[in-house]
Amino acid sequence: MTLRKYLVILSIVFFGSVGDAFLARGMKYVGSVDVRHANNLLVALGNPFVIVGIFFLLAFMWSYMTALSFADLSYVLPATALGYVNMILLSIFWLHEHVSPQRWVGVAFIVTGVGVVAGGPSRTEHSSSKISEPEPVEHV
């Protein structure tokens, strides 16, 4: 794993959790969306927080796909669970929510899990390496 690859993993954590926090903040202004208030969905799409949140989540998806192009799924998912910890920190400092001791224990479990997986290899070497080798791409 190179520094660039660790940065890609961290960008998944960052873009995912910040995007969710922006959506949560935006939806607090918009209100609940249900069958009787379906037009609230259109109102939500005009909210600046929701728009920024969607851009962050697009960046999250691109980072996620980039990570899966060089690391295993069973490595990427636990490693990016730090996003839950980031969400807790954002909910405390930005959304001013209360975090119970039970949740701090949950944070400790996640950090331990991430530490365990991050120390291992990121990619399974398959005996038939054809599947992992990129096909030649024509210049566009």
């Binding site: 980039t66 295993d72 799924l73 069973s74 490595y75 998912l77 996640i110 997986v117």
Partner: protein, 127 residues
């Protein structure tokens, strides 16, 4: 009966979310390291390669199914049940999918990490 529908929804959400992740992972493995591709062929070639992958779109389709299944589940049961159950079970389902469909080496270290993260997510979200 309502509880049965709720668990059917949770099962559907977990299985479609795992299928989505497995398909996206398979597509990205076939495409190759995006960083290397960008250095060799440029950013536009990377975008073209990603957008021409049918397996990737299958993954996105399953992810969309998981999203709507989750929404339906939330209309029947509380977020405090649907959220933790779906999130934690999806981690386990993904590890199984990675082992049996993607033939990844899910060793003891990765199982430990998956179980730890599962427990952590349950504690975080189960209020």
């Amino acid at each position: 009966m309502r509880m049965l529908y709720t668990w059917i929804c949770i099962f559907t959400t977990v299985s479609t979310a795992a299928a989505g992740d497995v398909f996206v992972a398979l597509a990205m493995r076939r495409i190759g390291d995006l960083g290397d591709l960008r250095r060799q062929h440029g950013f536009l070639a990377v975008v073209m390669r990603v957008l021409s992958s049918g397996v990737l779109f299958a993954g996105v389709f399953f992810m969309a199914l998981a999203f709507f299944s989750n929404l339906v589940g939330l209309s029947w049961a509380d977020l405090s049940l649907i959220g933790p159950a779906s999130a934690a079970l999806t981690f386990v389902a993904n590890a199984l999918g990675a082992k049996f469909f993607l033939r990844e080496n899910v060793d003891r270290r990765r199982w430990f990490a998956t179980i730890f993260v599962c427990c952590g997510v349950l504690l975080l979200t189960w209020s």
